[in-house]
């Protein structure tokens, strides 16, 4: 396999270079090049997948990257069951989004630049999931961060877009600070950064007492990239980027990198119950916390962004409780339905001259039917309605969470209710009810071109049936997905012991989560379609809560006054006072002191011979006196 899998990341890199360098001449054709490269990678990934299905695993180094003393990082790739799932998602969903982008970005003057960045992203993401050591993971990690920065700020003339890109990069750097230290700690303890070598000596990490520390440091990186509390703040603002970017990077692939990391490092995380607990708590809290903010937001993309943060929380609950396969399963189904939701939102914006405010939508269903129907599929999938994909993956996580702690399950179900509610609110306000679309926009409402709707339809099929690879035993399935991934998580499973709830309990749990979804949808129906509950009145009744949620818990404002401003003021003080007044004051004073001294010594140089003679005599007397007296 080693003979061709290196092509999988390299082909998109070539595409990025071609589009980046020759973009000004090829313009719109850049889209074709970018699509071809990602499609080639997808085909090669499928070939690799068939090999993995036959039990072939690849792990090999191509060349040495950084080498100093005992430290060595190689350019080495690894294709196992976990990597191949990620590769298929990245190239498969990635290709559909590339295809969609041809239509969405048509006519944009920066289209070549756009596709260059997008291809570069695919390259970085593939390095992230295919690398066989921590430093390549870090390379891909920062690489996708860069592409995210560039694509969020793609329309750089917009001040808010430029700012959002900057915020994303910096917030991620805070997480990467932990990630980098984690790498150093692991290397210093084990003398290697290669996955297989790390996993074969986890006992040394335990005996050195740094296992929990290293796992937590890595997890700090994961919270940055996967937008978990408290480093989630960049993701809602990231919606400034073109919508396909939000679908690809900020929903389907990049933001799941943290989940991949925890799953990849399952031999470490599963050995440290404290770390697992931290992962579960952060995941649970984020799942609920982000969902509450989605309840009241009026921007179609931002609602989806909060939803992504919340769903990522679910994935972390999964990998946190040790249900790694379930976490990855949800990662995959989420990639299908969330990419679909974002692309759908993009199609809506396309129809409405880039309107994102759901207060200015409504009754779009008959006008853009394909978009609406595919969007509805995704909505049902994320809400957890059987037999759509989201139901199976979310349920898998919740079942395992129940075994870990009923509390986590309880919060998870509450989150599911909120999810069903805010997603239904979004669907009802966008596609149903009365039209609130501005008049001048109204006449131009049109369905998107085929190049955009075909990806929607394909993703809708995936969102519909994508979960069937993981139907649990009690529903008559055989959970192929979990069995396929089992070898990757074998080492962790040996220290994890799940209590198996009885079938009755499982049915009951499943019933409860479906009930929560139905309840959420019904409530939204009553509020936004039927009108039997007036949302305005609810908002007024709980005005304090509403304001808190609407203002996103004032987190940005708090950070601004407690972190950014003090740091800025302190830095200003360091410069204007410490550097300019104290240090330079001392330097300049030395100069002035010299002048002052010479002011006196200059007096002696009178130029009169008699003065000099007097000094000579005085000196002679002193010397004589010294010898006589001593």
């Amino acid at each position: 396999m080693g003979s061709f899998i290196w092509l999988i990341p390299v082909i998109p890199l070539m595409g990025a270079l071609i589009n980046g360098i020759f973009g000004r001449w090829i313009k719109e054709k850049a889209g074709v090049i970018a699509n071809l490269t990602v499609f080639s990678s997808f085909v090669l990934s499928i070939i690799a997948f068939t090999r993995v299905l036959q039990g072939e695993i690849f792990n090999g180094d191509y060349f040495s990257w950084i080498k100093a003393g005992s430290f060595e990082a190689t350019f080495g790739l690894q294709v196992d069951q976990l990597s191949i799932v990620m590769m298929l998602v990245v190239t498969g969903v990635g290709f559909l989004i590339h295809l969609y982008s041809i239509g969405y970005m048509h006519g944009d003057p920066g289209v070549a630049r756009y596709f260059s960045y997008l291809n570069l992203f695919i390259f970085s993401m593939l390095m992230l999931v295919m690398g066989n050591n921590l430093l390549l993971l870090y390379l891909g990690w920062e690489g996708v961060g860069l592409c995210s920065y560039l694509l969020i700020g793609f329309w750089y003339e917009k001040e808010s877009a430029a700012k959002a890109g900057f915020k994303a990069f910096i917030t991620n750097r805070v997480g990467d600070f932990g990630f980098a230290l984690g790498i150093m700690l692991i290397f210093t303890t084990l003398g290697t950064i290669n996955y297989s070598e790390i996993f074969s000596q986890t006992d040394k990490l335990v005996s050195a007492g740094v296992l929990t520390a290293s796992a937590l440091l890595l997890f700090l990186g994961a919270t940055g990239k996967s937008a978990q509390f408290p480093l989630y703040i960049w993701l809602p603002d990231a919606m400034e980027g073109p919508t396909p970017v939000s679908a690809l990077i900020h929903a389907a692939t990049m933001v799941t990198a943290g989940v991949y990391m925890v799953a990849r490092f399952n031999p470490l995380f599963s050995l440290s119950p404290e770390t697992m607990m931290v992962v579960v708590i952060i995941g649970t809290f984020t799942a609920l916390f982000a969902a509450t903010m989605a309840l009241v937001n009026k921007d179609i993309k931002r609602v989806l962004a909060y939803s992504t943060i919340s769903q990522l929380g679910y994935m972390f609950i999964g990998v946190g409780v040790g249900a790694y396969a379930a976490g990855i399963f949800h990662l995959m189904t989420h990639a299908f339905f969330k990419a679909l939701l974002f692309l759908g939102a993009g199609s809506v914006m396309h129809a409405l001259a880039n309107e994102t405010n759901i207060d200015k939508m409504g009754a779009l269903y008959p006008k853009i039917k394909t978009t609406a129907i595919t969007f509805i599929v995704a909505w049902l999938a994320i809400s957890g309605i059987p037999p759509l994909s989201g139901f199976f993956s979310k349920d898998e996580i919740l079942a395992k969470a129940f075994a870990y702690s009923p509390w986590v399950w309880g919060f998870g179900v509450a989150g599911a209710l909120l999810t069903a509610f805010y997603m239904s609110r979004l669907v009802f306000l966008t596609f149903f009810g009365k039209s609130r679309v501005a008049h001048e926009v109204e006449h131009h409402i049109h369905e998107s071109p085929k190049v955009m709707t075909i990806p929607l339809m394909l993703l809708a099929i995936l969102a519909l049936i994508g979960g069937w690879v993981g139907i649990p035993q009690i529903l008559g399935g055989s959970n192929h997905f979990e069995h396929f991934l089992a070898p990757v998580f074998a080492q962790a499973q040996s220290h994890l012991h799940f209590s198996h709830p009885s079938h009755t309990t499982e049915y009951l749990l499943m019933g409860m989560s479906v009930l929560a979804a139905v309840a959420g949808i019904s409530l939204a129906y009553l509020m936004y379609v039927k009108g039997s509950i007036d949302p305005l009145k609810v908002g007024q009744r709980f005005a304090g809560v509403y304001r808190l949620l609407y203002n996103k818990y004032y987190v940005d404002e708090i950070l601004n006054s407690l972190v950014y401003q003090p740091l800025w003021q302190a830095s200003l003080w360091l410069w204007k006072f410490f550097d300019n007044v104290i240090i330079d004051g001392f330097v300049n004073m030395t100069g002035k002191l010299m002048l002052l001294l010479s002011f006196f010594t200059r007096r002696i140089q009178t130029g009169y011979v008699q003065n000099y003679a007097a000094f000579i005599i005085l000196g002679a007397i002193i010397i004589l006196a010294y010898y006589l007296l001593m």
Partner: protein
Amino acid sequence: MNPQLLLNVTIFLPLAGVITLLFFPKEKEQLIKIWALFISLVTFLLSVPLFCSFRSGVSDIQFETLAVWIPAIGANYRVGLDGISILLYMLTAFMIPIAILASFHAITYRVKEYMITFLFLETGMLGVFSALDLVLFYIFWEAMLIPMYLIIGIWGGPRRIYAAIKFVIYTMVGSALMLAAILYLYFLNHNFTGIYTFDILKMYQLSIPFGKQVWLFLAFALAFAIKVPLFPLHTWLPDAHVEAPTAGSIILAAVLLKMGTYGFLRFNLPIFPEASLYFTQLFFILAVIGILYGALVSMVQDDIKKLVAYSSVAHLGFVMLGIFAMTVQGLQGGILQMINHGLSTGALFLAVGMIYERRHTRLIEDFGGISKSMPIFASLFLIVCLSSLGLPGTNGFVGEFLILVGTFMVNKTFAVLGTAGIIIAAVYLLWMYKRMMFGTITHEENRKLVDLDLREVVALISIIIFIFWIGIYPSTFTQKTEASVNHLIQRVKKAQVNLQLENRVLDFKSFLSFLADDNKQAGGK
């Protein structure tokens, strides 16, 4: 040509260029520029075979020339390169043509004198990195100071006189102490061995008592720390950078600052290993303060050149951290980071110069939305910024990461603090980039800016090639340095044993006895 001869030729070819330039008529400015560029290019091209034929895996001096120079005092003409100096030598030869290229439009008066000064400077710098005799070293060291002083003082900005004098006084204070220490070392060596010599390699063989080492170490360290510049001795740098013309800033950042860190590697660590170990904590602290302080102060600058100048304080802090970690990773990273800083910061100043030539302002607020009018510049400038903030895949990452790993192995606290500096590096660079390149165009002048011409693209791209080369395949360079680094570490490790046995009281009395000591008693060892 055999490499030994080639080394001598490349050192003095720029000087030969100076002599030929004297015969050029003053008015033929274009010809003078091209001739200077030609000389510096030939110097670089001739030094490439040096790099290629430099044997890796050997820690000895290579391409050595030894000739008696002033027999009366035992000073020799001895030059050669080892793993510590080879990359810096190459960097110098590489950056000078770029700096000259950057001066083509920027220098409008006294062009002939300018080019003469620049080529003279090149010989000085190449000499510093290859000299293996203390007298020779000191002469090159001081010879290099004068042209830099002139470049700032004549072709600089409005406050050039203040900046130039500050630069010279700061450096002179250090140099004077270093000279005293060199002489002390000279007589000390005579007492030990009975031979009068200034040979640096002979000094390596001395085992100087700890009580003397510390003071000699401090004298050398002060000279080099000013050059680095190490916090709190850095305040000459922002002024010098802001006032210097573009090419001056490029060379100042790319090469001159490296003289300080190179000095630590060439003199302090190998000649005074016990003292180096003894002061490790102090230098760790100053280095980490430099990293954080430089980054924070850089963040609040409104002048681009000042911003880059303070960022140098942070970057060189990393180098110092790596050097004093005294691990293979730390030192390898430190040496590589010297090169990286030379390339990245050199390129940053180059880019700033390009935009300054167009707008005659360096205030960030005067720009905004430049990406629109100068897309090529925007892309190249971004790559340079990313390399400076240490993005994986670029050179900056390799150096910084090795330094931090090397530091982490010996002291976790300083590694953590250093890593925190990387966050702020992203803040100040991308914040500057955002304010300059993104947003809408607010100043009408910026709408009509012309994008880079071929000359400018060539200058930037040639640096960017190395940014990626080192980022992706650093072994080309690190393998040349590894043997010398290992040798140096072994030397220091040996000293670690001695240090535990020595009396380590340092007070004023011990300083007085160091001064009063006529070296005779100590000679017995």
